[in-house]
Amino acid sequence: MTSGAPPSRRDPVPGWPAAAPSPPPIPRRPSAPVLGASVLGPLVDVTMRGLLGRRRILLVGLLALAPVGVAAILVVGGGLGTTAQITRQLYDSLVMTTVVPLVALILGTTAIGAEIDDGTVVHLLAKPVGRGWIILAKMLVAGTAGVMLCGTSILLAGLLLVRLDSPGLLLGMLAGVVLSVIAYTAVFVTLSVWTGRALIAGLAYVLLWEGLVASFFSGTRLLSIREYGLAVAAGIAGPEAGTLARDVPLVTGLVLAVVVTVVAFWLGARRLARFEISDAG
């Protein structure tokens, strides 16, 4: 009985498997089933390309450098009182309250959020790569970019305003910025793994929680990343802290920030390990 179907491009010999010779093996380096540190390089690379190579980074840079603009205007146009005081004011109300959280928010949510959103994250997940390394790479890139942008910004602004008269203040502000950027970006990266609405959630946290609640209810102060940063800044600035001084001691702020970062990392890695990708994306 001949088949009525069109001739297929099958093996001429019916039956399976065909006796074709196998090609020479591709040499493989024996290694652990799941890859570790060696993937960090490529992951960081692709994240950097994605995060920093676009127009978006210009906007973030602009935002981060706003304090420098303010400092410049103050220096050029103002008849200032105590410059140290205005520096502290700038730091407290503009840098730590607005610029740092927003920069961290944009960098942190984009680092993995964009890939989850458009589905390219599957190319990272369908690989024998430890999920923690993926999260680490994202946090590293976002955190480093944030630290560089905001750190440079506060350093320049501080130098413009107080020059080298208050080195303790400068150092303190820098330390506070660096610490809070790292903690913020870690939290926001994790947030974007947990929810698709990470940007809104992050905004709510920054504006509502840190803006309103933590300012008014001193009991909740220990739950605000901004407080950690300010505590560290005040602690390092020592006598130059002035109005920045808080009740929260330096060590507490430092430890809590580290704890938050580590917990965020751990939660993010866990969630990513159980991440489900359906055909919708």
């Binding site: 088949s3 491009r9 090609p23 060696s38």
Partner: protein, 309 residues
Amino acid sequence: MSQLAAPPSVEVSAVAKWYGNVVAVNDITFSLEPGVTGLLGPNGAGKSTLLHLVAGLLRPSAGTVSVDGRPTFGDPAVYRRVGLVPEREAVFPYLTAREFVRLSAQLQGLPIGTGAVDRALGTVELAAAADRELATYSKGMRQRAKVAAALVHDPAILVLDEPFNGMDPRQRLHMMSLLRTLANEGRVILFSSHILEEVERVAERVLVVVSGRLAASGDFREIRRLMTDRPHSFTLRTSDDRALAGRLAGRPTVSGLTFEDGRLDVRTADFATFTRELPVMARDAGVSIFELAPADESLESVFDYLVRR
């Protein structure tokens, strides 16, 4: 592939996946062997969900999906042996094809300089355009880039979700012969499609999924034979159609006869008996049979039947 210690195995056992009230995959069991298996079904039948379950991207709500005896979900190590070509077009637009495949190689732990990247690009015929950004690629080229990235680590199991999407006929033929070649090397290949001709030409076995359930599996011709509650149609060319027809009309196994253009179409409910009786009747009538062919043994008619059940 000869460095494989054991042939790859994929076992899906009583697997179900639901999202709240919606059941996407419902109690499906099968196992895959080396060769090409086509996953077939209407849109929304659960093909993609099933593929994602096999590829370890979804957690089964019930049942198990295992590769080489280990569950696929939550185990990144499984990707050493599995290559996945996802359906979504999205790739990293700011990377070139070469960088994309190289990233895939690096994330697979391949040492640099083995030429695996170039080999993979060559296999999908992207070597010439490899240094352009993926954002500038057409849909078919992106598809090929994804295939190259999935092949770079020489996986024993290849899962492709609608791989022929967006490919022009020439690319499609190339991909089909590529899949066959890979299958001949002992790999397990599972691909989904809703285009019957593609599946018919490439796959040895099909899995037909309808509304989340497995409606049939195996060689589609065999499936056809098993569909006994539906009359089989045959086309005969003989030396004397009418004489044979006259004899056939009297047989209870024959449920329909049609003359057309020098052909005799016969419908029968009992395939086995008919095939025994036909030669006898032909001999008794003194009629020579030149050709006897099944008229509805295409995958299309099989599929049509299964979908409507």
